[in-house]
């Protein structure tokens, strides 16, 4: 028997439960994402409590969650910031890309997941969670630190890399050939360039379409525009998420700030739903077999992010403690790794174990990231004082 009453009770229980978990997470200083994933694993198929009757709503809500996550990622940086960021940090960005995508690629190839699986895993291990990083830097009072611009400009580069990466991944997942893949790369590079140019030159016109002094009208327009663009993008075989992301880049200035402020709570709601649904679709019993691989991958990619931050900060003449802090801040992976894994798994073009591995990996990294950022300072201080007599 599935009445609206039961659906409401189930949804209410999910949201309330997530609220309790989220509070707990921030209290102990980590991101709530792993808790949401665990919540999803606990419900659903093979979990403790099977949920019935709200699947349809949950899957649509999680789709909206992805769109809002990427819309807000696009809104986060203005087109001008992206362009200057690219100019200033492309080398550090490339080092970040190569060092951190490689372990994902290696693992996927070793497990026999083929080139598409490798491309998906490259994204999962490459992209830091800008949400977790920004929150942690703010909480630890490190925004005034000299290494912080280095960290932020790497995040900006990752942001741009996503704009190119997601359309390529979507095209290849949809079964495009090598030639089709190359066309997809060409098209996505062209589209990103055009959107950036449009945003730089005519950003205020795009903003004017959605802008309104009335908050209610503004919210409806922004959300409506995002869903429309995402829907059409999805119809054109470009992922819905990419459409929303590019719209986010095109909206600029004060409109972007207002939109961010207004959409943040909505994003948190729907993104939480997205993580739960991702957890729901992962059968808990598939996780233990990949746990060893996930731990190894976590260890390697922690080191590669540390190395990236260390190297990038050293180039800016920052001291050893600052270099260690920059590396540790970048360790956290989160929402976007899950978005990529979600995209890959939903098409069925990759091994279904990928979802399990990505879940386990993000569970580890989203917990480890904030802890690494917090405890790197005393550890590095100790290491440096220990090493000093040896080097002197």
């Amino acid at each position: 028997m599935h009445t609206p009453a039961i659906a409401l009770i189930e949804l209410g229980a999910i949201f309330f439960g997530l609220g309790v978990l989220g509070r707990l997470a921030w209290k102990i200083g980590i991101s709530p994402i792993p808790f949401y994933l665990l919540g999803g694993l606990a419900f659903g198929s093979g979990g403790l409590i099977p949920l019935e009757g709200i699947e349809e709503f949950a899957s649509l809500a999680s789709e909206i969650g992805v769109i809002l996550l990427l819309l807000l990622l696009g809104l986060e940086y203005s087109a001008a910031e992206l362009v200057t960021g690219l100019k200033r940090s492309w080398l550090a960005g490339l080092v970040d890309l190569v060092l951190n995508a490689a372990p994902g690629v290696a693992v996927a190839l070793l497990l026999g997941w083929g080139p598409i699986g490798a491309l998906a895993m490259a994204g999962v291990t490459y992209i830091s969670s800008s949400g977790i990083v920004a929150k942690v830097l703010g909480d630890l009072g490190r925004l005034g630190n000299r290494e912080t611009p280095v960290i932020l400009s790497i995040l900006v580069f990752e942001d741009l890399a996503m704009a190119v990466y997601l359309p390529i991944l979507t095209a290849l997942l949809a079964g495009a050939t090598l030639l089709g893949g190359l066309t997809a790369i060409g098209i996505s590079l062209a589209v990103v360039t055009v959107v950036l140019l449009l945003a730089l030159r005519f950003g205020r016109y795009v903003s004017a379409i959605v802008d309104s002094p009335d908050p209610e009208v503004f919210l409806l327009r922004v959300l409506g525009a995002a869903l429309l663009v995402a829907g059409f993008a999805s119809q054109l075989q470009v992922s819905a998420a990419v459409g929303a992301f590019l719209l986010g880049i095109a909206i600029s200035g004060s409109t972007a700030e207002n939109a961010t402020r207004m959409l943040e709570p909505l994003r948190d709601l729907f993104a939480a739903m997205f993580f739960v649904v991702f957890g729901l679709n992962t059968v808990p019993s598939t996780i233990p077999p990949v746990l060893g691989v996930a731990l190894a991958l976590a260890a390697v990619t922690t080191v590669t992010k540390l190395a990236t931050g260390w190297w990038a900060a050293r180039r800016q003449g920052i001291g050893r403690l600052g270099r260690a802090r920059a590396g540790a801040a970048l360790v956290a992976r989160g929402e976007f790794s899950i978005v990529i894994a979600g995209l890959a798994v939903s098409t069925g073009a990759v091994d279904s174990q990928l979802a399990a591995l990505a879940t386990a990996y993000v569970l580890i990294m989203a917990v480890l990231g904030p802890l690494a950022a917090r405890f790197i300072e005393p550890i590095a201080r100790l290491a440096i004082t220990r090493l000093r007599p040896a080097t002197a």
Partner: protein, 158 residues
């Protein structure tokens, strides 16, 4: 000359800071939504901050005036050669705490002029005789050396 460095913080705002003569980095982070934060670097690790203090617009304005008041005195000194300028505090509990500027009769008793009163970070220029003084005010005064010393005494002891 202080060299203020402006660093954009993508997605957050801007950081403006300078290195003081003692080697401390002092600055302000301005968030995109207008909030600001005062930052001071650590002594042993100038890359990091010993504290970052969030300030409301009012608080930031108050701090700016507090630091700006001596600047005002210095400026007066520069502009008028041979004239002494001093910032005299009106301590809480002074005989003139809660009385008007006219009541002090500074002008007739010491030949000192009060050109401004700084209160809670706000500068009140050219106060009239009916200006009500309060404990914690700072009087920006102009006069001779002896006059200023006498004026300080008057303000403290009546």
């Amino acid at each position: 000359m202080v060299n203020v460095e402006v660093t954009p913080l993508p997605g957050i705002g801007t950081r403006q800071d300078f290195v003081s003569r003692q080697g401390r980095r002092i600055g302000v982070i301005t968030y995109r939504d207008g909030r600001s934060e005062l930052i001071v670097s650590r002594v042993d690790d100038p890359d990091t901050c010993t504290s970052s203090i969030p300030l409301t617009p009012d608080e930031a304005g108050a701090l700016a005036s507090l630091l700006g008041a001596p600047q005002l005195v210095a400026q007066l000194q520069d502009e008028l050669d041979g004239v002494n300028t001093k910032q005299l505090p009106l301590v809480p509990g002074s005989p003139y705490d809660g009385r008007t500027l006219g009541d002090t009769a500074l002008r007739s008793r010491t030949a000192v002029s009060v050109v401004a009163v700084v209160r809670a970070g706000t500068v009140h220029p050219s106060p009239r005789p009916d200006f009500m003084l309060g404990g914690g005010d700072a009087l920006i005064t102009v006069g001779t050396k002896e006059g200023l010393a006498k004026a300080a005494d008057v303000l403290n002891h009546g």
